[in-house]
Amino acid sequence: MTRIALLLLATTTACRQPLVAVEAGPPLRLVVAPGVRINARLKPALELGDGTVLRFDSPRVTPDSAYFAAAPTAAPPGGARRGTLRVSVCPSGEAFCRSLEMAVAW
């Protein structure tokens, strides 16, 4: 079983609950609980301290290309072990999107 490196504290304004987790990999992999969809038109971004931005991606998306159908991944950066993750999530039971921004380490 892959170890989940860290549960991320999602800093949404409405819900201070963890929605997304990152598996250390390699590659780095975003996992979400059932019912949480990641917006594929706005690829998740990992911002590193030196200004580098890594984008998560997956070739598998829903037919309308709106959401990832498989966990998006990114190659782990050399050296850096922490950063800021941005993810646009759209819960399947709801009809809106919201942004998560959180500090992560792996």
């Binding site: 609950q17 963890p18 929605l19 987790a21 609980a33 971004a45 709801e94 999107c97």
Partner: protein
Amino acid sequence: MLAGVVAGTTAAMRRLPLTPGVGGNPAPELTNTSWLNSDQPLRLSELRGRVVLLNFWVFTCGNCTRTVPSLVAYDRLYRERGLTIIGIHTPEFPPYAGEHDKGNLTRALGRQGITYPNAQDNGRRTWDAYGIRYWPSFVLIDKRGMIRYTGYGEFHLGDGDFREWERRIQQLLAE
């Protein structure tokens, strides 16, 4: 364990929380400087006498783009009767994601057949002034410049939410 936490989170969310204000609160003025489908920046103070529907959206949001056909329909049906729809295009991510780019927004408007005015809210000033949290969100303003209804969430041509927003538009147009 994670799944349980998330399920509890989403269940707590509510769609379309309505603010059916009788008198309403004054709508914060628009201060955006970059506009599309408008020759000049629009100001609410210059739209007194018209009903204004603000749509907070971003072209990378599927929930937003799937709602656009409904807004295009309202624009077609009610513009000449006194409705002004204004898109407030508010990026989710920093500029590296391309949402701030005016060319990208121009192309998105073309793809969606949007001819009503859109403001670039790249600094989120209008988003913050209205206390918006979700994409898409809506604010309906009456002829006196008062906020009468707010809500959020995708809807579609002819569904219940579409009919409810249309009913509100008609109500304010009739006042």
